[in-house]
């Protein structure tokens, strides 16, 4: 007995159900990350002295991680392109590259955090550091979740199955990339 999906297309909107669901997820993510970022921005503008604390973040680690996420987004969109052509195995290989990008990002982040905590910059070291760990930690959690879902999608894409999910998971990953694009200047550049 096989399980069949009831509706794969929203007739009124002419959009696949799965893709629409991903967009709705991203809308809720915008509200979550938007709340954190706007709140940080308000406090940062109200506390010029936070710039001294921000000076201790590692600009080069942040820049390298931006490069890693941009590159993982490239492999995700190339995986989508391969899926559009019906080449599931190639899409899977590119998705595994995306996961590798996420892994490198987390390794760099863990080294960065270890160093900062050893220097005494903990979550309770001040307002800036509270926001730094909250925003970057929430983002890292999304990277981990994305890696898990991408691995699951890649395993079926490898067998040329459920290829439409490659695009859906790619949209999510690009959003995670966009969030980091804003976190990078806010936490690493504005001193």
């Amino acid at each position: 007995m096989s399980v069949k999906t009831i509706a794969t297309q929203r007739a009124s909107m002419n959009i696949p159900t799965g893709r629409l669901a991903v967009w709705w997820v991203l809308v809720s993510e915008i509200v979550i990350f938007g709340g954190v970022l706007v709140s940080y921005l308000m406090h940062r503008l109200g506390h010029p002295e936070w710039g001294e604390q921000a000076a201790y973040t590692n600009l080069w680690a942040g820049a390298f991680n931006t490069l890693v996420l941009l590159s993982s987004s490239l492999s995700a969109v190339l995986a989508h392109q391969a899926a559009e052509k019906g080449d599931g195995p190639k899409a899977a290989r590119l998705l595994y590259l995306t996961i590798l990008g996420g892994l490198i990002f987390l390794i760099v982040k863990s080294f960065e955090w270890t160093h900062e905590i050893q220097e005494g910059f903990t979550l309770q070291a001040g307002g800036f550091w509270s926001y730094y760990y909250t925003a970057a930690g929430l983002h890292a959690f999304h990277v981990i979740a994305g890696m898990g879902v991408i691995a699951w999608v890649a395993s079926s894409a490898r067998k040329n199955q459920e290829l439409h999910r490659v695009e859906n998971v790619g949209i999510y990953w690009h959003f995670v990339d966009i969030v980091w694009i804003f976190l990078f200047p806010l936490l690493y550049i504005a001193k």
Binding site: W23, V27, G35, L41, M42, L78, Q124
Partner: protein
Amino acid sequence: MTATAPAAPHGTTHEPGHAHGPHRNYVKIWGILVLLLVVSVVGPMLGIRWVMLVTAFGVALVKAYMVAKNFMHLDIEKPIVHWILLVALALMVLLYGALAPDVQKGAGQGWKKDAGFHHSFVTSKPHEAGGHEKPGAPPENAEHDKP
């Protein structure tokens, strides 16, 4: 009488996504994004405030736009998606507009934040901030609690 193509069994074939959109050179787009990343790192090093704002935050906006347009294919996405995203972004602006005056300003017409307000983050316990309650004294609203 019209003939319709038989539906393919779900899960075995790829549903049409954005295959019919414009041809994009993704590697070239990635190259531009990396170039913009270099600009956002080098720009603030000049130490000029407006250059920092433009190169860090202005470039971030451009990068986000490029990723959304070219990688997420928002430019050829259905209008409903644009609308729901705009509503979420509008909520961000509303949040800022509603709270920023209170958070960012230290004083206004007929009001002023006390000295300890901005340091509340580093004060772990209320009594360390020099509270007004005396030890053993009843709470201020004790009178209202009487039957």
